[in-house]
Each structure stands twice: as C-alpha cells, then as structure tokens.
Amino acid sequence: MTELLAIGTKKGLFLAVSEDDRQSWKIGSAHFPGMSIYAVAIDNRGPAPRLLAGVDSSHFGPSVAVSDDLGATWQEPDAAPLAFPADAGAVVERVWQITPAGSGVVYAGVQPSALFRSEDGGRTYELVRALWDHPHRPEWGAGFGGQAVHTVLPHPDDPDRVLVAMSTGGVYRTTDGGASWSPANTGIKAYFLPDQWPEFGQCVHKVARDGADPDTYYAQNHHGVYRTVDGGDTWQSIAGTLPADFGFPIVAHPRRGGTLWTFPLVSDGQREPVDLRCRVFRSTDAGEHWEPRQAGLPEEPFYQVVLRDAMCADAAEPAGVYFGTRSGEVFASRDEGESWTSVATHLPDVLCVRAGSV
C-alpha cells in the first residue's frame, strides 16, 4: 500500500510518498513551482486516484488542475475551470477548498465567498447560484486572508445536504441540494461585532464532521471551539480544557466518533502556540477533554502557525495525522497523534495538507 501526503505550499505542491506504512516518507520536487496551492484533494472514488489542485498564480490567476497519474502529468480544460457568470459581477480570486462528494461530484469553495459544483470529477465547475444570491451576501465580510468559502462538507449519505463555512459569514447549510441555504451559527460567538451572537457574520476558521455521527460537527472559530450534535442547529463550546480557544485547523478522526485534533494559538493578537510549545491537542470524547501530544515534535520555543487546511488525517488504521507550518515544516503521526516524526523541513509556507492511500 502506498500512502500519499500532498502538501500545498505558497510556492508549489509537494508530494510525499510512504511505502512502509508511514514510517518514512520520500518527498519529490515542487509541482507548479512558484504558484500557491491553497487547496488539494485526493479522490479515491474512480478507477485511479485523482489528485486535484487549486493552483493560484499571483500573476495569471487561479485554476484547478487534475492528475490521474499521481502527479506525473496535470490537465486543465481550455476554458477556465471555475468562472463567475457575467451577471455575477465578480471574478474568482482563489480556490480555497476542493471536496469530492457523490458520484463524479466535486465542490470547490472560492474567494470571494462562493461555492462551485463539478459533475465531471472536478475538471469544470458551475456556480451554486442560490448561495451566491443569498440575501446575506452583501453583509459577509473579509478577514485578513480574504473572504472565502473555505470549508465544504457534503453529507456522507444524503447528497442534498451540504454544510459550508466561510470567513467571515459563518456556517451555512442546504438540505435541498443547494437550492436554498440557511445560516447555522446559533451559539457561535462573534466577539468582534456589536451583537456578539448574530445570526451570521461569525469568523469560523474550520469545521470538521465527526467520523461516526454525520450530524455532529466541530468548529474552530476566531476565538471559540464548538460542537454541534444536531447538524448545526445549535453549537456548544468545547474549549473548556484547551489552553486557548484561538486557532485555525480542526480535524476529526475518519471513523471513530469523538476523536479530534487541533493546534491552539494564544489569541487573535498573539498568534503563536501557547507557551511557545509545538503541541497538537487531541480529544477522544468529542471535545469534553483535551490532552497535549508533543512526542517527537520540536522542543525549542516554537512560534509557528498551522493554517486552517494545513492539518489533516488519513483513512488508515490507526489513523495518521499530519500538519504543516508557515515555516515549511511538516510532521506526521502514524498513531493518531501519540508520537510524531518530521516529513519535511525548509519548504515554503505550508497552506494545506491531504493524505490518503493510492
């Protein structure tokens, strides 16, 4: 079995491969050198694994490229794979998320905040119009990183149900295949607004779905870590035993309910790990309790940030967990976070990681 770790960085996509059950990794040179890879996906549903990369050139704009030969070659359509229709009055600035869903369906979350849907395996996409036309859209804001739909979570059993998250704007969901969308932010605080408990406008950094219960989700907010057990109707804080409630990623175990990982930072104004220690925090009870895991991680003072998509889990048993930093370091755990090894150092800023068997 070959395990693949796709590492999207500020200057290219790196593919690391393990042939020994994730004990060691061999990393290749950059694909798309000089281009930012904010989104990458490994789609294992077809006859061959398909890699999808959101490729962002600061000069020549965004695109999505796909590879059916593990990166040996990449293909793009002639026409832009994602483009707003003329009457939308917007242009795609960046692809933040690529999420394979049902048969042949792939979703892409973009900046400015919009959702696109592909029915040809991720080669070409169309705007999900009802979310773009949502009456709340003029009030969605932009954080420092831009205004984007950065999280797309299709329901594993019901193709009509999709949950998205955006910064800022918060969580929205559809139960009718994208024909209508409703905010789902009750209980998530927006401390930066005069009304701190608004219907929408939260700065949700990342949402993960529980591995066992598809109605349970976890959210890392711009301050605040939350759980919903009713599909997003209401959210409750699960930050109680974390050392800080700020951070970007949150990752759930692919199968075991209640197991999740995050990488807390001190605060909005002090974006560095608590006590300057490189630690992943893990919960095995849906966030009621959190424990630091740092075996094998750097012990010296650590100032780095893990961005919202720069942490992931694989589907192996036991699950592997991976994260990368803005200083270009990538770490892997093959025992669900108990211990860690270095996969790469001195890469460009790590923007996203995804792992899977190929």
Partner: protein, 91 residues
C-alpha cells in the same frame, strides 16, 4: 499582421510558441478575443472572466503600456508588436 510576443512562462499555453500572428485592424481587445478562440488557456491568464486585464500582467503595444494609452481599446496597427509581460510582483 500584428504579432504577440509570449513570455517564456506562458509558452506552454501557446503550444510552445514565442510569437503568435493575429488578425489585422482592430483593438487590443479584439486581439485578445481572437486569442481566446485560438489559445484559450493563454488568454485566460492575461484576462480574468470579466474581460479585465489581470492586475499583474502588463501588455505593451509597440512598446507602449496599454494601461497608459487606451487600455483594452488601444488600437493595434498592422504589423504591431504586442508584448505580454508579467509585472514585477510576487513574494
């Protein structure tokens, strides 16, 4: 017949060509419209889907920056040289 000079970084999108001959008698927009038909992957790296020049791409018509002349309505004389250059940007 006008000629488009393609920067090295974009030549893969033009079948490897460094020079592209395009039709006479129009504006820069008309040239780019023709490029969209003939070399769509090249054109979409020069203009976004709204038809605007990408911010960090510069286009010169006979040495004049189109942004300082007529923009996309800059006339393109017969025999003109249209140079596409990435601007000084990046991190």
């Amino acid at each position: 017949m006008p000629t488009v000079l393609v920067p090295g970084v974009l030549r893969a999108e033009a079948g490897g060509a460094a020079h592209l001959e395009v039709g006479d008698g129009g504006t820069l927009a008309a040239v780019l419209d023709e490029m969209r038909e003939r070399w769509p992957r090249l054109e979409r790296r020069i203009r976004d889907e709204s038809g605007a020049l990408r911010r960090y791409v510069n286009v010169y018509v006979d040495g004049e920056d189109c942004r300082r002349s007529g923009g996309l309505e800059t006339p393109v004389p017969a025999g003109a040289e249209i140079q596409v250059l990435p601007s000084v940007a990046g991190g």
